[in-house]
Amino acid sequence: MFSTCVKTLRITSKFGSLIRYESTLVIAEHNNEKLLPITCNTLTAAKKIGGDVTVLVAGTKCETVAQNACKAKGVSKVFLADSDAFKGFTAESLTPLILKLYNEHKFTHILAGASAFGKALLPRVAAKLDVSPISDIIGIKSSDTFVRTIYAGNAIQTLKSKDTLKVVSVRSTSFEPLPLEGGDAKCENVSAGDISNLVEYIRQELSKSDRPELTSAKVVISGGRGMKSGENFKLLYTLADKLNAAVGASRAAVDAGFVSNDLQVGQTGKIVAPNLYIAVGISGAIQHLAGMKDSKTIVAINKDPEAPIFQVADYGLVADLFKAVPELTEKL
């Protein structure tokens, strides 16, 4: 009896020492004024892993952003690294800083949103630390087991990482945003460290729009080749304004020059999962579906009843978009 007891105790203590306490560093994406919504989705993923969550805000005059991040519930610490070197948030300038923080704090996880920013940065960090990064996860099974899509969303892969450090980018539409309230994290200034000038940031040319941002909009209206011209996208903008929707596009519409590239929804463009997705004049190629098939409700307006988009649409309207869209706008 006594011996069993001792044995149990031994096992427990042995197991106890094996458990690694999780600690996650989330690389905040921001524009020096505020956190971008994708950071809030990433924080939810970080909390799901469990353990301590630390946020890194690196930028140029970005103190407000760090204070913002301190308010997120469940964040234990915020590192603020302020330097002109981080202009343009290049992967080359941020990587040495992240390596320095990793060496000091030995995080078990480093996370960022799977945006152009996160995708450019995390693999470089992972290469420096000799770990295999995990891209665009849609689920977390445990601290080392993640779910992601492959083949343009046509298969779901569950993988277990064997690296001690997990470097993970998070698909924003798969995790609810963490509200920036109720938290009281401490903000700590950290030095920028070694400055890398491998890449010189020149400028950005951002498309301006008053409409909601595509990846976080509740309603998205997308146009395809069927729109016939850029001019005709006005029909969609008018409808979008009525529904407070963002406007997206298929690759065909982008390639034809109807709209700019950053509106492309699909495997190689943006992944969206709004409450309502209205596909107008889009046939529904595999690559487009990869970007929108997790939308709650899908409406398709297309004059071709054979279009593959109707196989995923909850509501289909076989009609000429040039009649149906203005009619819909008018009646709403």
Binding site: L159, V199, S207, V219, T268
Partner: protein
């Protein structure tokens, strides 16, 4: 005059509807049409255009994978690459081969072959990782220009337009550098029959990861590969009015 290394991957053709294996270990690849990863065609095209502008002297194309990867290398040679390197990896090692391994192979080759520029596609359309270019640059400590839609090469001074979330971004860097091609970078050419014939005479060197001293120990264990949830069949509505009624019922408007 620069030497350019271009990485190409053999993947299931983009137009094929893939099937998941019943035992959930992966997707069916046997007897399925394969071709060059579309982003890699763009990378090759860009290198060939650099050569045509006399900005590049030699284009070396490399692919890591089973024997059939040589077909992909031949395609690149037919598009205008000068010679190929096939890093043969097959069987279980190929199943768990990841960008962490490929990037080390490419980095080693970049150094051995003394290249000034590595151009890769921004992602492979099978594993959708979008990592290899960034990691190769990391291993080499070279600057990276990811998601390029325009590359201006002024004797090793690169001005790059990148596709980012809100629009475009312009950055500058010097070679040696690693670039990854976005869809918008160019329109790849078709290999003509005479060029396909010529490509057969171009050399392909076959090596193994051991020759390069790269360790392919798996970093992941694939637990399962499954079909995504199937959406329930929807309904075709007769008119706009019914659509509005349905959207109202669902609380969307």
């Amino acid at each position: 005059m620069a030497r350019v290394l271009v990485g190409v991957k053999r993947v299931i053709d983009y137009a094929v509807k893939i099937r998941v294996k019943p035992d959930k270990t992966g997707v069916v690849t046997d007897g399925i049409k394969h071709s060059m990863n579309p982003f890699d065609e763009i990378a090759i095209e860009e290198a060939v255009r650099m050569k045509e502008k006399k900005l590049a002297q030699e284009i070396i194309v490399v692919s890591c994978g089973p024997t059939q990867s040589q077909d992909t290398i031949r395609t690149a040679l037919a598009m205008g690459a000068d010679r190929g390197i096939h890093v043969e990896i097959s069987g279980p090692e190929y199943q768990t081969l990841q960008p962490v391994h490929i990037s080390k192979i490419l980095a080693k080759l970049a150094q051995d072959e003394k290249v000034d520029l590595v151009i890769l596609g921004k992602q492979a359309i099978d594993d959708d990782n979008n990592q290899t270019a960034q990691m190769t640059a990391g291993v080499l400590d070279w600057p990276s220009g990811t998601f390029c839609s325009k590359i201006e090469n002024n004797n090793g001074e690169l001005t790059i337009t990148r596709e980012i979330d809100g629009g475009l971004e312009i950055v500058k860097m010097k070679t040696p550098a690693v670039l990854s091609a976005d869809l918008r970078l160019n329109e790849p050419r078709y290999a003509t029959l005479p060029n396909i014939m010529k490509a057969k005479k171009k050399p392909i060197k076959k090596i193994t990861s051991k020759d390069l001293g790269v360790d392919l120990t798996p970093r992941i264990e694939i637990l399962s590969v499954e079909d995504p949830p199937v959406r329930q069949a929807g309904v075709i509505l007769p008119d706009v009015d019914t659509l509005i009624v349905k959207l109202k019922e669902a609380g969307h408007i």
